[in-house]
């Protein structure tokens, strides 16, 4: 990654819809160069997701459940995770090592939603145990949250 790439990332971190033309002007290269660099960074998976963040409360979501998952003894979660990753409203899912073997975040509109999805996940054969904690509504309702803000000089937003 050179200076140009870094500037592109820095600018897009502030506003991911910023026109490539404006970024090009700021760096002093052609718009074509910026587009080419952006596409390269996407193909090389340096830019993994470019998205909007949404206030989930505003579109009717009531809360967020964090699922801390353990496999049943001697089982591997790979298959179950394929399923979990394709479950509607599971917005974060990753396998893990440590006290839990999987971590997933489920957003839900009402208790029925929550109940159905969690029951469905508990039924997966390789899953031994699912611990559920809820984040307090109104604090953690944005999705997704950027992971890279501190390293790109962006101030962390104050939690309201």
């Amino acid at each position: 990654m050179d200076e140009i790439d870094q500037t592109i990332i820095r600018e897009l971190t502030k506003d991911a819809r910023k026109p490539f033309r404006k970024i090009a002007m700021k760096i002093g290269v052609s718009t074509q160069t910026v587009i080419k660099r952006y596409n390269e960074m996407k193909t090389n998976n340096i830019i993994q997701i470019a998205t909007i963040s949404i206030d989930l409360n505003k579109i009717g979501y009531a809360g967020t459940a964090h699922l801390l998952i353990k496999s049943s003894t001697g089982k591997d979660l790979t298959k179950s995770f394929e399923h979990i990753k394709n479950t509607p409203n599971i917005v974060i899912a990753t396998k893990a090592i440590g006290d839990f073997e999987g971590y997933a975040v489920l957003v839900f509109k009402n208790i029925e939603d929550l109940f159905t999805t969690i029951l469905q996940i508990r039924k997966l054969s390789d899953i031994g145990y699912v611990d559920v904690v809820f984040s307090v509504p109104g604090i953690n309702t944005f999705f997704p949250k950027p992971l890279n803000r501190k390293y790109l000089g962006k101030k962390s937003p104050k939690s309201e």
């Binding site: 990654m1 990332i9 897009l12 971190t13 991911a16 819809r17 340096i46 830019i47 993994q48 997701i49 470019a50 998205t51 909007i52 963040s53 949404i54 206030d55 409360n57 505003k58 579109i59 009717g60 964090h66 801390l68 990753k85 394709n86 479950t87 509607p88 409203n89 599971i90 917005v91 974060i92 899912a93 990753t94 396998k95 893990a96 090592i97 440590g98 006290d99 839990f100 971590y103 997933a104 957003v107 611990d131 904690v133 809820f134 984040s135 307090v136 509504p137 109104g138 604090i139 953690n140 309702t141 999705f143 997704p144 949250k145 950027p146 992971l147 890279n148 803000r149 501190k150 390293y151």
Partner: protein, 162 residues
């Protein structure tokens, strides 16, 4: 709690499209919906104004900064210490998110670290805080695991029955 905003099919389409790729041009979305580009632009700014869209988000590979691991920690905190613990977490440079939770644990925090030594450091730093009774550390295998395509965005149904 915030009051929900009523969104219709066009709003839902805008949100879904931009969630998958924030740089999708308004012209393309307009073609998809069969409305004018102007309508989409207006709707987009309305969604921003009403606070449905809070901003844009670029997730980059953390490898570049040397931060290879994402770990999450779940801790139990004695009743009166929650505020102080959250403040401490806020001041820890590699803590990227932290919030109170309800359930078997009291606080959830996510950290990025460069190596195993740092996992240990984070753990010790949390453990030695006053008010912490238990810490569970879990290292994530994928760096973010975001799945924007799974988020269901449904236009509001007309509430005829009230």
């Amino acid at each position: 709690m915030t009051k929900p905003v009523t969104i219709d099919e066009i709003d839902a389409k805008i949100l879904k499209t931009l969630l998958l790729d924030v740089r999708t041009s308004f012209v393309d979305i307009a073609k998809d919906c069969g409305v004018s580009t102007n309508t989409i632009v207006k709707r987009y700014y309305k969604l921003r104004q009403s606070g449905v869209i809070t901003g844009t988000s670029l997730i980059v590979n953390l490898d570049d900064a040397g931060y290879d691991f994402v770990i999450s920690t779940d801790m139990n905190v004695e009743p009166n210490y929650e505020g102080a613990i959250l403040e401490t977490l806020n001041n820890m440079p590699n803590c990227i998110d932290h919030f109170p939770v309800v359930g078997n644990y009291d606080v959830h925090a996510i950290f990025v670290v460069r190596n195993f030594q740092e996992i240990d450091q984070v753990r010790n730093q949390i453990k030695t805080q006053k008010g912490i009774t238990r810490v569970r550390v879990t290292a994530h295998l994928s760096k973010h695991g975001f799945l924007p395509k799974n988020l269901l965005i449904q236009p509001a149904e007309n509430n005829k029955n009230g």
